[in-house]
Point group: C4
Chain length 212, copies 4
Amino acid sequence: MTPTRTEAFSDGVFSIAATLLVLDLKVPAANGDLLSALTHLWPAYASYAVSFLTIGIIWMNHHTIFAHLRRVDRPLQVLNLMLLLVVAVIPFPTAILATYLESGHDQTAAGAIYGLVMTAMGVSFGSLWMYVLRHDALRRTLISPARKRALLVRFAIGSPIYAAGIGLAFVSARLSLLVYAALAVYYLVEPLPSEIGERHEQPATDIEVGST
Amino acid sequence: MTPTRTEAFSDGVFSIAATLLVLDLKVPAANGDLLSALTHLWPAYASYAVSFLTIGIIWMNHHTIFAHLRRVDRPLQVLNLMLLLVVAVIPFPTAILATYLESGHDQTAAGAIYGLVMTAMGVSFGSLWMYVLRHDALRRTLISPARKRALLVRFAIGSPIYAAGIGLAFVSARLSLLVYAALAVYYLVEPLPSEIGERHEQPATDIEVGST
Amino acid sequence: MTPTRTEAFSDGVFSIAATLLVLDLKVPAANGDLLSALTHLWPAYASYAVSFLTIGIIWMNHHTIFAHLRRVDRPLQVLNLMLLLVVAVIPFPTAILATYLESGHDQTAAGAIYGLVMTAMGVSFGSLWMYVLRHDALRRTLISPARKRALLVRFAIGSPIYAAGIGLAFVSARLSLLVYAALAVYYLVEPLPSEIGERHEQPATDIEVGST
Amino acid sequence: MTPTRTEAFSDGVFSIAATLLVLDLKVPAANGDLLSALTHLWPAYASYAVSFLTIGIIWMNHHTIFAHLRRVDRPLQVLNLMLLLVVAVIPFPTAILATYLESGHDQTAAGAIYGLVMTAMGVSFGSLWMYVLRHDALRRTLISPARKRALLVRFAIGSPIYAAGIGLAFVSARLSLLVYAALAVYYLVEPLPSEIGERHEQPATDIEVGST
C-alpha cells in the first residue's frame, strides 16, 4: 500500500476539521451594538485561532512524516485513523471552551477538556511518529539510533507541556489557552520536523541495519 | 477512465462524512455543571466513535479495492456512487441514535434505523466488491476461482452480522451499538483486505483466463 | 495551466456539496413516535437522494470532460467556477423543497426554485461543455464536426427537460421532483459521456483541422 | 518538501470554505409567502456570490503561484497557513454582512468587518506572493528585477482598493459590497496571474542571478 491515498484521506480530515471551526463563530443577533457584541466574542476568536493553527501544525508534521514513508502497513493505518479521530473532534472542545469563556461559567472544566483533547492529539501524533521511527522498512530514509533517541527526547519534551495545560486550567482557563497559543507559535517557528526532512536529502550518511 | 479521480471524489465524501459527525456533538448550555452534562452525552460520544471508525474502515477497504483497479467503468461508477450516498448519510442515523439514547425515548427504533444504514453500507460495499471480483478486465490482479469463492464467503459472513444488529436493537439499542463497535475493532485488526493486497504483489502466480 | 489542480478544487466542491446535503436531514424531537416522524420526513429523503445523485452525475460528466483536456485556460476556469457556484448552492433549494413539501405550504414556489437551480446547473454545465467542444487546442482528442453537432444536440435535448421541471412545479412540486429523479436515473444508465470517452481511446480516426 | 501536499491541504480549505458559505442561506419558515421571503434574502445571496467568487479567484491565483514552485520551505508554509486561516474565516463575516444588511441594523459595522477580512485576505495573499517573488531558489522560473517591480506595483494597486472598501462601508455597506463584487469580476477577467504563468513557458529569456 502506497501512502498516497492515506495522505488524501488525512488531508481531507485535517482541512475539513480546520475549516469547520468557523461554524463555532456565531453571528450576534441584529438588535444590539455589533462591535461590542463581537468584542465579547474574543474567546471564540482566540480559541478558533489556536485550534486552527494547531491543526495546521499537526498537518505540516504529518506531511513531513509521510514524506519519509515508502509504504503504509495496517498498524500505521490504524494509528493514523486514531490521530484523525482526535483531530476531527477538535471543533467540539473548541466550541465548549469558547462558550464557557464567554459566559464565565465553569471555565476550569472547559479549559481542562480542551487540554485533554490537545493532549490526546499530542499522544496519538507521538505514537504515529514513534511507530514510523521504529519501523525502518516503512521509511525511505535511514536514521541512526542516536538520532532516533534525540528525536524521541524532543517529542518527550512536547507532550508533557500539552498535558500541563490541563493542570493550568485549574488556575485559569485563559492562561491555559495562552499556553496552547504559545505552543502553536513555537512549533510554527521551530524547525523540529524539517530536521528529519533534511536527513531525507542526505540518505547515505549514517546507515543503520536491522534495528528495532 | 482511470480510477484516480473516482478516488479523489470518494476520498472527499469519506473524509467529509467522517468529519461532519462532530457537528452532532452539542455544547451543553453554559448554566449547569459542564462535567455532569458531558457525562450524560456518552451515547453521542460512543456513536460518534463507532461511526467514525466504521467510515474509516470502509475507506481503508475502498482504498484496497481501488489499488487493484486498472480502470473504472460506468456500472462501477454507479455502484460506487450508491456506496457514497449511504456513507454520506451516516451522520443522520448517528445523530438519531445519540439523541434517542440520551433521552431514553424510543431507543429500539433509533437503534434499528442505525443498524439499517450500517447494513445498507455493508451491502453496497459488498456489491462493489463482488463487481470488482467478477470483472477481471477491470483489475490489474489475477485472482483464482477458488480464491474468489473464499473472498466472497468472508464477505458473506460479515454482512449478516451487520443485519443482526438491527434485530439486536429490539433487545437493546446499546447492545446493538456495542456489536457495531466490536465489528469496527474486529475489522481494524483483521487483515481481510490486505490479503487481496498481497496478491497484488504476486500477480503471476495463479492465472485465470476468461472467467465470468 | 494543467487541469490537475482545477480538478482537485472541483472534486472538493462536488464532494462537499454532496455531503453537506445530510445537514438538511433533521433529527425529530425525542418526544413522539420516531418511526412515524421519519415517515413524514420522506420529502427530505427524496430530495436528498435526487440532489445527491444529480451532483454525483454532474461530477462524473465533469470527470469525463476533464479527461479530454490538455490544458485549462482562463475562460474555462471562469466557466468552471460558475458551475461550481451553482453546485455549491444546491443544498439550499434542496432544504427549501424538503421543508415546504413536508409542511404542504407554498409547494409550487419551492418546486420552481429547485427547478430553477437545477436548470442553472444544466446551463452552466452545458456552457462548459460547449466551450471545450469548440476549443480544439484545449483537448487531447479530435472530434469531427458531425460528432460535435451530435453531441450538442444531445445536450440540447437534456437542458429543456431540466427547464420543464420548473413549469411542472406549477402542476405539482412532487411530480417535478419525480422528473428530476427520473433524469438522474436516466443519466446514470445512459452512456452519453462515455461515448466521448471512447473517442479518447481512438484519437487518430477522424481528424479535424482548424475548426472554430 | 514538494508543493503537492501543501496544495492538497490548501485546495481542501479553499473548497470547503467556499462550499460552507451555503450554510449561511437560511430556509424561510414555512408559514409565509416563500417568494417574498426569498426576495428579502437578497443581501444573503449577494454576499454569498461575492464571497464565493472571491475565494474562487484567490484559489486560482494560489494555483498560479504554486505552479511556479519547485519546493516549499517553512516560512512559506507559515505564510500559506496564515492565508488559509483568513480564507477559512470568510463564511463568518459573510454571515454577519448578510444578517445585518437584511435587518437594516448596524450595517456600517457589518460592512467594515467584511471589508477588514477581505483586506486581511488581500494582505496575506500579497505576503505569500512577495515571498515567492523574492526567493528565487523556491521557483522553477526566472523573473527579471524589472518584472518583479512591475508585479509588485500591480499588487500594490489591488490592496488599497480592498482597504478602501472598509472606508466605503461608512458611506454605505451596500456600496462597499458592490466594490468587492466589482473587484471579483475584474479579477475574473483580468489576466494578472496568467502573465506570470506565461513567463513559466519561456524560462530561458531573461536570467537573473543571485538577487535577494
